[in-house]
């Protein structure tokens, strides 16, 4: 359709000025948007309140549809479980038998571990969970991988707390609202997680790729020591994530590291546990001296 002939408003001065004003407003608005963008690039948490308000407004709808989606998933699972119940039962019985001995060994190891830790006088602020919520939406149209959690500061969720699901690490809290929180997923390119290989504790770092995978880069230079199928867990370095949270499974070896798929799938996590930051006090002190992302030169 051709545009209406508003470009040539005739001899009316008023119409001419009105047309001119819309262009002035358009260009001024563009400049304002660019300035807002520069502010938010310089200070990414600056407009957190606005975004939190947006998330709060749409959270009820998201919660509603999320419960429907989960019910649908559950129904599918129940139906398929009904059909192969007998064969599954046999397989599970076998598995229980096999894992019982392993479980006893693990218990013994746990006791031994606690005793050794007692000898070394190691003390962790372990495992205290803050709250349990659900992931209700994600930024599915942006390259940033951020999810919305169904609980916020009303349950004591704070910034920089790790979030995990039953099968592994999901991410960490970056913004909180009254009843929602935003979580930077481990697959975001911004999220750097200190990890280690489960077998030998080989230290490494993980960075998201933005497409559902993470890159594992070992601290040591040289040929990639990873094999397909290696299990990666968090190492606890840096004091944010607790050690030994299941993290990812290596799917491809690259020249200087490995590609891995996170074990926790945010779409299929039935719940998300917000945990206290591991060694929060130590981290707070460290942050006071050298905040993340800002290097400071120490005067000799």
């Amino acid at each position: 359709m051709a545009p209406p002939p508003h470009r040539r408003p005739g001899f009316s001065r008023k119409a001419q000025y009105g047309l001119f004003a819309t262009y002035v407003i358009a260009i001024a608005g563009t400049v304002v948007a660019a300035l807002l963008l520069i502010i938010s690039v310089a200070d990414p948490t600056g407009f957190a309140a606005l975004r939190a308000a947006g998330a709060e407004i749409t959270a009820p709808v998201a919660r509603f549809f999320n419960s429907i989606r989960r019910t649908g998933n559950d129904m599918g699972g129940n139906l398929s479980a009904y059909f192969d119940a007998a064969s599954k039962n046999a397989a599970l019985t076998k598995e229980v038998k096999a894992s019982r001995t392993k479980l006893i060994e693990a218990r013994a190891l746990k006791v031994e571990n606690a005793r050794l830790r007692g000898l070394l006088k190691l003390k962790d602020e372990t495992g205290e969970q803050v709250a349990v919520g659900r992931l209700i939406s994600s930024t599915a149209s942006s390259t940033r991988r951020i999810a919305t959690l169904s609980i916020g500061s009303n349950y004591g969720v704070e910034r920089a707390q790790p979030v995990r699901g039953p099968s592994g690490l999901i991410g960490r809290v970056i913004e909180t609202g009254p009843t929602t929180a935003r979580i930077l997923l481990v697959t975001d390119a911004e999220n750097l997680v200190p990890v280690m290989r489960v077998g030998d504790g080989l230290p490494a770092f993980s960075t998201g790729l933005g497409n559902g995978l993470v890159v594992i880069k070992p601290l040591n230079l040289g040929e990639s020591p990873f094999k397909v199928g290696d299990i990666i867990v968090t190492s606890g370095n840096g004091g944010l994530y607790q050690p030994n949270i299941p993290f990812a499974r290596v799917i491809r070896k690259t020249s200087d590291g490995a590609l891995a798929r996170p074990l926790a799938d945010p779409a299929n996590s039935p719940y998300a546990i917000v945990m206290k930051a591991y060694q929060a006090e130590a981290r707070a002190e460290q942050q006071a001296i050298a905040p993340d992302g800002k290097t400071q030169e120490v005067a000799e």
Partner: protein, 184 residues
């Protein structure tokens, strides 16, 4: 003999078959609110529980905005890219101001195209929308990369394809909304 049922309607409102069809007024509220509400609601689609591991959901707010602009030139003012874009930024996860800037630039670009190619057909509109979608998505990635570590542009490919293929559908929805908007 009974009359055949021609339309299913709620019993609350009396039928209008026998009312005068002359001199009916369009509702001003509907005329103004439908384009605005449809674009804002389309921007809010990202808050529905689509938990994806990569950016795959098309930017419905942008599609709706481009569809209204290309289908009804002159309806949205030249400066409307800024407010609609800023609303989209609240829900998209991009740095605040990113869509405000990009949508406004897209609007100005269409304004320039309007002054050159006045009579266009549907395919040309689709082409313009496709190019703008690609530019805005790449621009969004570039802006996200300024503030944070960015990912590879390749991961945007499925989203771009999906958005371009879904644009005609969004235009249909827009056309339906438009006929509802202007109905008396």
């Amino acid at each position: 003999m009974k009359n055949p049922v021609t339309a299913i309607r709620l019993p609350l409102r009396p039928g209008r078959e026998y009312e005068s069809r002359f001199d009916r007024e369009q509702s001003l509220l509907k005329m103004l609110a439908i384009p605005i509400a449809s674009i804002v609601l389309a921007s809010m689609v990202t808050t529905l529980p689509f938990l994806t591991t990569q950016p795959i959901l098309p930017p419905f707010g942008l599609l709706m905005f481009l569809a209204w602009r290309l289908m009804r030139p002159g309806l949205l003012p030249v400066w409307s890219g800024v407010p609609f874009g800023l609303v989209d930024d609240l829900f998209s996860g991009q740095p605040f101001g990113s869509a405000g800037l990009l949508w406004s630039l897209a609007m100005l670009a269409i304004e320039v195209i309007d002054s050159r190619a006045i009579w266009r057909d549907y395919m040309q509109d689709w082409l313009i929308a496709s190019l703008l979608i690609i530019i805005v998505l790449l621009g969004g990635l570039w802006i996200a990369g300024m503030a944070h570590a960015a990912s590879d542009p390749i991961i945007l490919l499925p989203q771009m394809l999906l958005s371009i293929l879904l644009y005609p559908l969004v235009v249909r929805i827009c056309a339906r909304l438009d006929s509802w908007r202007l109905a008396t």
